[in-house]
């Protein structure tokens, strides 16, 4: 018989899987992921070396696009020079955006999901490319 701890873990896992599957469904063909990094963000470099190629390839298999912008410094992730006019609305949706990396799942003019760390990327975005 399961003890209380096992029940809680199972409940948490079910919630997580449920939340993740919702995101995977939201990542329908035609949607795309925007990745925001900074030239002086070592965490970003690490993610790019270790995960980016496989992640992008996985997204492509599901018909999900990938775009990337790199700001000069994580000091100013909102730098106008990096955010082209067609992407600026995403930045403007997050007025408190700070630091890097950021990941956005975009469908049309809707942001379906956002993550501002590689831990959150692993939880919310990596399943989309599995």
């Amino acid at each position: 018989m399961m003890n209380r701890r096992e029940l809680l873990i199972g409940f948490g896992t079910a919630l997580f899987v449920g939340g993740t599957s919702h995101l995977v469904e939201a990542a329908a063909p035609g949607s795309w992921v925007l990745y925001v990094s900074a030239a002086d963000c070592r965490v970003c470099r690490g993610w790019e070396v270790d995960h980016q190629a496989a992640f992008v390839h996985g997204l492509q298999r599901h018909g999900i696009g990938f775009r990337q912008i790199t700001v000069t410094s994580l000091r100013n992730v909102r730098d106008d020079a990096a955010w082209t006019a067609d992407l600026a609305w995403i930045r403007d949706t997050y007025p408190n955006m700070r630091g890097t990396p950021w990941f956005f799942l975009v469908s049309g003019r809707t942001i379906e999901a956002a993550a501002n760390s590689t831990d959150l990327w692993r939880m919310k975005f990596a399943p989309m490319a599995a």
Binding site: C41, V43, S73, L74, G99, T100, P101, S117
Partner: protein, 147 residues
Amino acid sequence: MRRVSRALCCIAALSAAGSWAAGAEPDRQNIIIDNVVVELSATPEGVTACVDAVHGTKLSGPYGVAITALSGPDAWQEKLPKTVAVEEDYFALPLRIELKRRAGATADGRLQFEVGACQPEGMCVPVELAVDIATLAPATKQVPCKG
């Protein structure tokens, strides 16, 4: 790795735009924001800042440490603002920065330290720590950074 310690000169102090952990000693004070720690000590020539991080946080080397005199920039021997960066991914911590006053100058303004703090959950954020050096009692000897 280039040593930041010798590159700078100026003042010292404290204030706080975040959580405080005031040291028991009147000539030393700590400020901690987003796992970044700056401990300031008054020295006969100016101030010493020991920059460190806790809970697995690292400080980006390319981002550097930017030091700005929010008031009285002319009181320091080195021209501020100044950024010290290293090519390595992260600074070796603790990082010791000495700021010396100009001869005859009184340095009682505010200093700001800005770093790129890379948190263990996988994100790097800019962190600013401002200190008001007027509250630091003068020390009689150099204080080592705690490793």
